[in-house]
């Protein structure tokens, strides 16, 4: 009766032949792609300016995604057909995870479209018991081109993470589409907006079902392009286009890592782009540890830029310049999790490359942990509500990366799942508020909004509670699972992958910070006196209904992955309704490493809850009590205490300044790195170009002109033309001369005749 806790090595990975939905999962990204094309060409002429096409496509994709998920759930335990591995296993060095490069059939994995020949026929899992039935991925593909002996596949993979993400992306995208019809109504580029929303949905869906690293890279870049286009939707204002460029260029820096990492994986896996093959080889130890380490490090750089980890996160807050639904969809729920998803997809590379098992610290987890804390700290000093949420996203992404870094794979994806819903709810809620006050600045234009927008207020509160991780909302379950998964300080009952003490502590700190800054944001927005102008009112149904749906998810989605031991069962004997999420969506096949699963404990849950409520408590005390009282006393609408800590304490003030300036990272990037390149280096390059390269080119040009002239004057005119003229002259003159032979005198003709005949005769006689 072992399910997730079984650390068995599976013998199969995939099959080509399963349920129709799983085999034809390529249809799902195709629908928004077609709607992109349709909206581009026909959108302006349609009655709803293309929005109906986008909504129809995404809606249909959502339905298909739901059906695919249902199909997957029945496939996962009940598949009884043939299944295969992608790579044959050496039984002699299977025990040795760190075997070096003497694998004679690494090439067996190359060009392996259909897997090795030994197919195993599986039996369906018995009713009620899930006898370690492997979760067989459904791979479909075809050879797209062959070049230089390398086969490029294009195909789809339908396994746990894929179908999960299909659901998440289509659901959030559908809600955002509906929301957008109200939010960007009468916009100057309404149709264009929907076209790019469709393209983004198609790209992200394509990303999650990518079978080969090439497809992954392509989709990665595509979502980056869509992000650029959508952030800069109102590009007429320069800050918006600047933000779009910043997003794209910062992502570019990370993309170098992506390409390098994929190249390393390609070569070290023996020349294959197939993700399943690479994963299996990494699990078997057929790829050398050094290669995996460097690949993991390079890919981490990509994750840092795309998923906003610390150092390369600077673009995310600026990306809030785009329309709010875009922020909800792309920069909260789906695109920024592309990096996290990539780690989840190529997990064996990271698991082995970072040596996650059995350590207490590793690079990936550290990056995640730092992001959690530093992103959270920055959220405190923002006036713009969207920027608060942006830094919150950075921090939560840090949690996901942290989870992956400590080996809690299911926790990371579960947090991704829940975060998508409540963060999208928060963003859309902020959009709803901003839509009515026409501004995002909390301090200047908001305050006391709960009176004007009750529905938005309620959904916002529910999503914030979920974000803060309060029992029993979704965030509690997912964040707790991450903290347990770190295995630090003895939690997890020795079943976790390591004991990451530092990560646990930083995760707890982050939890406290989360609650605190959300409390601040809520106070500034919804409480106190209204500081703006105009008459704000509740938004329309198309905005509030998605908010309600999302808050429902935020509240109840956590029950999808109840930890074993909660209300029934135990860690070693989970019941059938516990850990559903992990059971269905964590891969259990030969291409996934056997990771450890920490045992959840109530002790940690209680401690985390206390710590997590500590932050909001402090913030509540500060804002709701002190500021509010002061505001009531003075009759003003205040946003902060005028004589707060930062004004009294210079160290606190310095820290505050540090946060306000975003750790001076932007200054570092723009004014130091970029300026130094723009300045002296660019000038030097320009000088070199003008004076050296251009000199060479000019000299070559001048020389050829001179040579050309010379050739023309001397050779062409004199020699060639001379020859031609001479031949003409010769013909003419010889003709004139020979003409003299034609005297008409018979005897002369006769003489010539005789002479000729004689000479010929002489020649004949002499020679023959």
């Amino acid at each position: 009766m072992l399910s997730l806790l079984a650390v068995e090595a599976y013998d199969v990975s995939f099959t080509n032949d399963a349920n129709w939905f799983l085999e034809n999962v390529w249809i799902i990204p195709l629908l928004p792609a077609l709607s992109f094309v349709g909206i581009l060409f026909f959108g302006k002429r349609m009655p709803y300016k293309g929005a109906e096409l986008g909504i129809a496509a995404v809606g249909l994709a959502f339905i298909l995604a739901v059906l695919t998920n249902v199909a997957w759930m029945s496939h996962r335990d009940n598949y009884d057909g043939e299944a295969q591995r992608a790579v044959a296993v050496h039984h002699d060095d299977h025990a040795d995870d760190h075997a070096e490069d003497d694998h004679s059939d690494e090439n067996a994995a190359v060009l392996n479209v259909d897997g090795v020949d030994e197919a195993v026929v599986l039996t369906a899992a018995e009713e009620g018991g899930e006898e370690s039935h492997p979760a067989v991925a459904v791979l479909k593909g075809r050879e797209w081109l062959v070049n230089g002996g390398v086969s490029f596949l294009i195909g789809t993979i339908a396994d746990g993470p894929s179908v999960l993400m299909l659901f998440v992306v289509t659901a959030i995208s559908l809600l955002v589409h509906i929301y957008s019809t109200d939010y960007v109504a009468n916009d100057r580029r309404y149709t264009h907006y929907f076209a790019f929303l469709s393209l983004f949905s198609a790209s992200m869906l394509f990303f999650v079902i990518s079978r080969s690293t090439i497809q992954l890279i392509t989709a990665w870049e595509l979502v980056g392009v869509c992000s650029f286009a959508l952030i800069g939707h109102w590009w007429e204002e320069k800050p918006n286009s600047d933000a779009a460029l910043k997003a794209f260029l910062t992502n570019r820096v990370g993309d170098i890592g992506l390409l390098v990492g994929m190249i390393i994986l390609f070569f070290s896996a023996g020349g294959t782009f197939d993700i399943t093959t690479i994963n299996e080889m990494a699990v078997n130890g057929e790829i050398s540890d050094t290669a995996l380490m460097w690949a993991a490090i390079a890919l981490t750089a990509a994750v840092m830029s795309k998923s906003g980890q610390f150092i390369l996160h600077t673009w995310l807050p600026d990306a809030m310049a785009g329309p709010t639904p875009v922020s909800a969809l792309i920069h909260a729920a789906t695109m920024v999790v592309a990096g996290v998803f990539m780690i989840a997809r190529l997990y064996p590379v990271f698991y082995e490359g970072y040596d996650i098992a059995g350590s207490s610290i590793n690079g990936l987890a550290l990056i995640g942990a730092v992001t959690v804390v530093f992103g959270g700290l920055l959220a405190f000093v923002q006036d713009d509500i969207k920027k608060v949420l942006a830094y919150s996203t950075v921090s939560q992404l840090g949690y996901m990366v942290l989870a992956l870094g400590v080996g809690a794979w299911t926790a990371a994806l579960f947090h991704l799942f829940t975060h998508a819903f409540f963060k999208a709810g928060l963003f859309l809620g902020s959009g709803s508020v901003a839509h009515s006050v026409h501004s995002f600045d909390m301090k200047k234009d908001m305050g006391g909004m709960r009176k004007f927008m009750p529905t938005t207020f309620k959904t916002f509160i529910i999503c914030s509670i979920a974000l803060a991780g309060v029992f029993p909302t979704a965030g509690f379950w997912s964040k707790d699972e991450i903290l347990v998964g770190t295995g630090g300080l003895g939690v997890g009952a020795e079943k976790a992958n390591g004991n990451y003490n530092l990560m646990l502590i930083m995760g707890l700190v982050g939890a406290a910070l989360t609650g605190a800054y959300m409390t601040r944001a809520i106070y500034l927005t919804f409480f106190g006196e209204f500081r703006g102008h105009g008459e704000p009112h509740e938004s329309g149904k198309r905005i509030t209904v998605p908010l309600i749906i999302l808050s429902v998810f935020a509240a109840f989605a956590g029950f999808l992955n109840l930890p074993p031991g909660f209300l029934a069962g135990s860690a070693s004997e989970p019941t059938g309704w516990q850990e559903r999420f992990g059971h269905f969506f964590e891969p259990a096949a030969a291409y996934f490493p056997p990771i450890g699963h920490a045992v959840p404990s109530w002790g940690l849950a209680i401690v985390a809850s206390i710590v997590g409520l500590l932050g909001p408590a402090v913030a509540y005390w500060y804002y709701f009590i002190k500021v509010d009282n002061l505001a009531k006393e003075t009759g003003q609408s205040l946003t902060e205490l005028p004589d707060g800590l930062t004004t009294r304490n210079s160290l606190a003030n310095a820290g505050h300044q540090l946060l306000v300036n975003k750790y001076y990272l932007d200054h570092l990037y723009n004014d130091v790195i970029v300026a130094s390149v723009k300045g002296p280096i660019a000038k030097a390059a320009y000088w070199f170009n003008q004076h050296v390269i251009d000199e060479v080119v000019d000299t070559a040009g001048r020389t050829s002109v001179k040579a050309g002239n010379f050739v023309y004057n001397n050779i062409d005119q004199k020699v060639v033309d001379g020859a031609v003229n001479a031949s003409g002259y010769i013909s003419n003159q010889s003709g004139q001369e020979l003409r003299r032979m034609q005297t008409g005198k018979v005897q002369q003709y006769a003489a010539l005749l005789f002479a000729g005949a004689t000479i010929l005769a002489g020649v004949l006689i002499v020679l023959i």
């Binding site: 034609q742 005297t743 008409g744 005198k745 018979v746 005897q747 006769a750 003489a751």
Partner: protein, 99 residues
């Protein structure tokens, strides 16, 4: 006797005849030179006939004589015609194919 005596003599006569054909201005004299050539050929024929002890040489020579006679007849007729037309039988004046 050496065969070559006759042959060389015939060759000499032939060349003298060629000289005459090429240099003589009077048409009749040209025809006479042609006769010289023909006779040289006849000598050749008969000499070879005697050498090979074959009557063919004689027979051929007879035919040549007959043909020569015919040719002289026609040739002189043409010379007369030329004289009649232009009152001169100077071959150096016959240059209507000049050019």
């Amino acid at each position: 006797m050496l065969l070559n005596q006759f042959l060389l003599l015939a060759a000499a006569l032939f060349c003298i005849g060629v000289y005459g054909v090429l240099t003589r201005r009077n048409g009749v004299l040209v025809l006479m030179s042609v006769e010289l050539i023909l006779n040289a050929v006849n000598i050749n024929l008969v000499a070879f006939g005697a050498f090979h002890d074959n009557v063919l040489g004689d027979v051929f020579a007879v035919f040549v004589i007959a043909v020569a006679a015919a040719e002289v007849g026609v040739g002189l007729a043409m010379v007369l015609l030329m004289y009649r037309n232009r009152k001169s039988i100077d071959f150096t004046e016959v240059d209507m194919m000049k050019g």
